[in-house]
Symmetry: C2
Subunit: 426 residues, 2 copies
């Protein structure tokens, strides 16, 4: 089978991670090395928005050093977005525009690094292309700190956030242990709207009963304020202190967000639910019902881009996923997402292969934390979770440090490609 | 002059830092090596509380590995407290109790690692001892992330928190840069009730105009909501995004805490002002007055114990301060605190010597950020601040990592010494 020649475009989507640039690097380096197939390697500025607005830049104009530097640079160096395309059956305008831009630049390969919304977009663009007889290869690269993509054992980005939040909770635990006579209880809020993978990862920090976190709450298990109060009381009885890790999206048995229960809930300016505030909700419960001082901590964005303490395993897998996407395209695959396939079941016998899954299957799936990864009481992890997560957190990424003692992260030049279609109206 | 023989006790006080254990290590290793003077090296469990309650442990019973491990272990391994002694002129009970315990164990040397309250305690215990003709040497070791102690160029603990918060803000800045089309503004709240040293340190992360933080607000400069709105608008105009670093204790021109202005203020269960919430106060202003989405991040405890990315310069200086305290005692000094004396004014020609200051002078002083370390608008740092802070942030502490990918921190055995006084009633 002759390999189709043409340009490729790579785009990043959704919330940044510490290693999404490593995936981009894997795509870019592998594609640039195959100039006989890829007549150009473009980046889309700010994800699919960059395609819609024909904001494309030529990655061939970047220095090899800058591209290599992506491996140690957090967040999305190509730019990302949260733009959600309409349903293809209802509104084809966006999809047709994407194809118009692809055609105008002879883009035949679309590498999209993102979560399930992105896989859905790639799938639909791909289907429309087939319908319109435009030969296009779309391959997805998994990315999400939430670790909630179907079909893949885990997601690049997760191992790094897991390592970082577990370490932060471990350190906050030592703080609480030092000063429990004054600051007895601490709540640390981590990300996770629907899936508790990040909150559960903090559990790895507890090597002994002394260690934080002492309690973990996550969205998959309905939250009961009464049980929480009992849990905290028991912990205080045992240790004289209590460190709680909580996923932002915990809900009560009726499905209401706990962050809303305390009256602190507010919508943001766009009408989205602001889930920050769950730590304060738990703080109010502890101070009122248990009667000890409780502090709150919210790692926020800092958790998902913490390249200064990222997982080397995660970073290397992220790179390999990007590389595998290009190799899959060269092997004639289309409409697939690269998956991570765990080999070896023991935590210290871990290795990871690459697989492929249909974009459509990934787009419609979601992987929540298996119930057996949490204990019966639903307030801490089991050995199964430890065995699952530990291999993903191992190894330290070597970053570069400047003379000011801080990390040196790269920026791309983003040499824009001249537009050749009429600008899209908004 | 013959050197007085006797036991020594070392205690840690106040909020933990990444390197307060390095100072303890400096005291312990130096004292253990001089067995001909120090007939025993004790630790007080939970700071001065441990002396009051005669909860002392024998540091000679610890393994050399555990003591050496203190150099890479955050928080207060001896235990800390926030217990504030009464004024000596009004109530001598606590001070007399301290001396009773010291006498009972023939403790002749008191090494107290802490901030100005601790220096005040050490000074008063020392004065009472003189009055009661009990020969006691009290030497203080500076410690505070707040960097607000008088007489010393800077404080052990500050360089590490500075390095960490600057890095976290840098990384959050890359996140915002990636996703400004969705999350346009980010506020990162850092510690600092009265002094803006920590908030100012984040400014080091801005190497170019692109870099975060774009705006910094701190307690020393009265906060104006109107100017803040104008600052954010200007930043959005220039860059399309805005990352704000803010010290928790910012106040308006009337001295009211900004965290109280939005109605979110609440006292904690002990009647203390809870300053957390300033990020949310700024978020409300941005969303209401500027009309863009704003996220909040609160590093909380995680910032002050972030040994996983501590400053080697800070750690080494912390150790040397502990060492110098014992050496000062051996040289016949008493009632002094070790100080750090900067030598060489240029940032790349930095070295640091040790000095001594009177405990009483330190106890009554406070060092706020010099106005010239901030720009005229009061919303970012100047070169003077950069030159001051950068040398303190350099170098990475080599930590040990376990097979689970997380740091290995030590715990002391704390082999308790038998009590020999009647237990103090509370």
């Amino acid at each position: 089978m002759a390999i189709m020649k043409g340009r490729c475009v790579v785009a990043q989507s959704g919330g940044p991670t510490a290693v999404i640039n490593a995936s981009a690097c894997g795509v870019i380096q592998t594609a640039l090395a195959r100039g006989e197939v890829f007549t150009g390697v473009y980046g889309a500025y700010n994800g699919i928005l960059g395609v819609l607005e024909e904001d494309l830049f030529d990655l061939g104009q970047e220095t090899p050093q800058a591209i290599e530097g992506l491996k140690r640079t957090p967040a999305a160096a190509l730019g990302s977005c949260r733009y959600k395309l309409k349903d293809l059956s209802k509104d084809r305008v966006d999809y047709e525009r994407i194809l118009e831009v692809f055609k105008a630049h002879d883009i035949r390969y679309f590498f999209y690094i993102g979560g399930n919304d992105s896989m859905d977009t790639a799938d639909k663009v791909s289907r429309l292309a087939r319908e319109l007889k435009y030969d296009l290869v779309a391959i997805g690269v998994p990315k999400t700190i939430d670790n909630d993509l179907a079909e893949t054992d885990h997601c690049p980005g997760y191992g790094s956030v897991a390592k970082y939040v577990a370490t932060a909770v471990m350190e906050a635990g030592r703080d609480t242990e030092s000063l429990y006579t004054a600051d007895t209880c601490n709540v640390i809020e981590v990300m996770g709207r629907n899936a508790g993978w990040i909150a559960a990862a903090t559990g790895i920090a507890r090597r002994t009963e002394e260690d934080a976190p002492h309690l973990i709450y996550l969205p998959e298990i309905p939250f009961s304020a009464d049980r929480f109060v009992a849990d905290v009381r028991e912990c205080l009885k045992q240790l004289g202190r209590c460190v709680v890790a909580v996923g932002e999206g915990i809900r009560d048995a009726e499905g209401r967000f706990v962050s809303e229960m305390g009256g602190s809930f507010s919508q943001d300016s766009f009408g989205h639910k602001q889930l920050g505030g769950v730590a304060e909700a738990l703080q109010r419960i502890v101070e009122k019902e248990v009667g000890v001082k409780c502090r709150t901590n919210k790692l926020g964005l800092c958790q998902r881009t913490a390249m200064h303490f990222a997982s080397l395993t995660d970073r290397d897998e992220a790179y390999r996923c990007g590389q595998a996407a290009v190799e899959a395209a060269l092997a004639g695959e289309r409409c697939k997402m690269v998956t991570l396939v765990r080999q070896g079941s023991e935590p210290y016998n871990y290795c990871c292969g690459m697989g492929l899954a249909d974009l459509a299957t990934v787009a419609n799936g979601e992987k929540v934390l298996p119930r057996e990864y949490m204990n019966e009481a639903g307030n801490h992890i089991t050995t199964a979770m430890r065995d699952y997560a530990v291999p993903l957190m191992r190894g330290e990424v070597k970053i570069e440090i400047g003379p000011d003692g801080l990390p040196l992260y790269v920026r791309l030049r983003r040499q824009m490609v001249e537009r050749c279609t009429p600008l899209r109206s908004h």
